[in-house]
């Protein structure tokens, strides 16, 4: 079978420019997804390699290239763990586990403890809290809150229904609020004790 004819040169140049413009985002997502800088570089490189190989199959508008690249990266991350046969991404939780985590979070009063929170000084704390989220929640939260993907786009990246995306984002938020509230409460106790 003869090799497929290439896309038009013009289209291909635009495709590559568009792909390159998302390098920073993909790298950032890969780092927070894998929590490993070397693996992140490998995933990003593999993402671009796959994208180049699949360039001729990308027949949508270039505005859709961003979620498409994230999907490739996400799949590469999953495949990496399948290949390694080391048990998969850490803390892969089922929905039941997520529900339990969210339920625990909901039991605790959050808002009162967040009253005194200084949002300008919790970057590091919040980052650690995000890193500590279960994989399934962290992925959708990062795609949504940091990378600005829409529910439908995240659903496509993750291969799950949009409703599940919504519920996962909601759970992630609840867990994050809970963590911040607990930390805030802990800090207050410490300052009271030291006083």
């Amino acid at each position: 079978m003869p090799p497929e004819l290439p896309r038009k040169l013009h289209d291909s140049v635009l495709f590559r420019e568009a792909a390159l413009s998302h390098l920073d985002s993909l790298h950032r997502f890969a780092i927070h997804l894998s929590r490993n800088t070397e693996l992140a570089s490998e995933l990003v490189q593999e993402t671009y390699l796959q994208a180049l190989r699949s360039e001729h199959t990308f027949d949508r508008s270039l505005k859709h290239i961003r979620p498409w690249l994230f999907k490739i990266l996400n799949n590469a991350y999953r495949q990496h763990f399948r290949r390694q046969s080391r048990g998969g991404p850490t803390q892969t939780l089922t929905d039941a586990h997520e529900d339990a985590a969210a339920a625990n979070a909901a039991l605790l009063p959050v808002n009162s403890r967040l009253e005194d929170l200084n949002w300008d000084q919790i970057d590091e704390e919040l980052k650690h809290a995000i890193d500590a989220l279960p994989d399934t929640l962290r992925t959708v939260f990062l795609l949504f809150a940091v990378e600005d993907l829409k529910y439908r786009e995240i659903a496509d990246v993750e291969g799950i229904p949009a409703g599940t995306v919504m519920s996962r984002i909601s759970r992630a938020r609840q867990l994050l609020m809970q963590t911040l509230a607990l930390n805030s409460s802990g800090s207050r106790s410490k300052s009271i004790r030291s006083a």
């Binding site: 003869p2 090799p3 004819l5 290439p6 896309r7 040169l9 291909s12 140049v13 590559r16 792909a19 390159l20 390098l23 920073d24 790298h27 950032r28 780092i31 927070h32 800088t37 070397e38 693996l39 570089s41 490998e42 990003v44 490189q45 593999e46 671009y48 390699l49 796959q50 180049l52 190989r53 360039e55 495949q79 909901a106 808002n111 967040l114 949002w119 919790i122 970057d123 590091e124 919040l126 980052k127 995000i130 939260f141 990062l142 949504f144 809150a145 940091v146 529910y151 919504m166 519920s167 984002i169 909601s170 938020r173 609840q174 994050l176 609020m177 911040l180």
Partner: protein
């Protein structure tokens, strides 16, 4: 009965995911309830703070990775694969499995180093008859210097990236050697190679580790005039090895008869680089585990 929206509904409201009627109802509740407004502000603040925290704390893309990606994307737009001109050149292979370029793997380094150590390569020391494919045994110590940072080997990182991209291009396209001056039969390429790079240039022959000559041709690589040789395993299409040869003109800063395995952050495709008094050689493969296995079959181990 209270119509106070749940936190999930508030989140859906912020994200614009509520149906119009429900949205109106939530807005009405928010307007009437100070505590809800506060909760709403907290949720909005959470997203914006998370966004800022993650973005501010993430290291920028490493220069070497950026250079590799850019080089990869600069590879010319795919052209139809040229038809092989002789039976000697195997047909372009379309692989089903995704192409994987892992971060350097010891197996690769062992494989590449073994290629040199077992004397399947030519060029160092010079051949007696440079126009004929040959095998010359190299000093076994030559490939023992492994560096993770190309600059430590006096090698510009950009050059590593470009060589990698060229190898990638040729493998992806199956074969990209269209210059009619260069035969696709190894035994016939001598005159053209000699004319292009000079009388003393060597002709590589990797047939002893089951790698068939797949083509040779001029190639645009920083550092000067370059010839690119591509080899392919006829029984295992996953194995490709490229050898790039450039006249030495100071483009690398290491001594002659030195060789380096470039691996790690600068080269996610591990590469063997060495030079003699006249030429610089770059050897890069793509299926490193298989290459390593080939080396193992030959009884070579580097203990890396």
């Amino acid at each position: 009965m209270s119509n106070r929206p749940s936190q999930s509904e508030l989140i859906a409201y912020i994200d614009g995911a509520l149906a119009p009627e429900k949205r109106a109802a939530v807005e009405k509740e928010i307007a009437a309830n100070r505590q809800l407004r506060h909760q709403l502000r907290q949720l909005i603040k959470l997203r914006s703070t998370a966004r800022k925290a993650v973005r501010d704390s993430t290291d920028p893309v490493p220069d070497a990775l950026r250079a590799r990606i850019e080089a990869m994307l600069q590879v010319e737009v795919q052209k139809p694969v040229a038809k092989p001109r002789t039976q000697v050149v195997s047909k372009p292979v379309k692989r089903n499995s995704p192409w994987i370029y892992p971060i350097w793997r010891p197996a690769l380094v062992a494989g590449l180093a073994a290629c040199i150590a077992i004397g399947v390569w030519v060029g160092l020391p010079s051949l007696n008859d440079p126009l004929n494919p040959s095998a010359v045994t190299l000093p076994r110590t030559i490939a023992r210097t492994i560096v993770q940072d190309a600059s430590r080997a006096g090698l510009p990182a950009e050059l590593v990236s470009v060589v990698q991209a060229r190898h990638l291009k040729c493998v992806m396209m199956g074969n990209n050697f269209e210059d009619p001056k260069f035969s696709h039969i190894l035994a016939d390429v001598g005159p053209a190679v000699r004319q292009y790079l000079g009388d003393s240039v060597a002709i590589p022959d990797l047939s002893s580790i089951n790698l068939d000559f797949a083509g040779v041709g001029p190639c645009q690589v920083d550092g000067g005039k370059t010839l690119h040789w591509l080899f392919r395993n006829p029984s295992d299409p996953k194995i490709h090895v490229s050898v790039f040869v450039q006249p030495f003109s100071g483009q690398v800063a290491f001594d002659q008869n030195s060789a380096f395995v470039i691996a790690g952050p600068n080269a996610q495709f591990p590469m063997l680089v060495w030079r003699d008094d006249k030429f610089v050689y770059y050897l890069i493969g793509d299926d490193f585990g298989a290459t390593s296995q080939t080396a193992t079959k030959l009884g070579v181990g580097f203990g890396i």
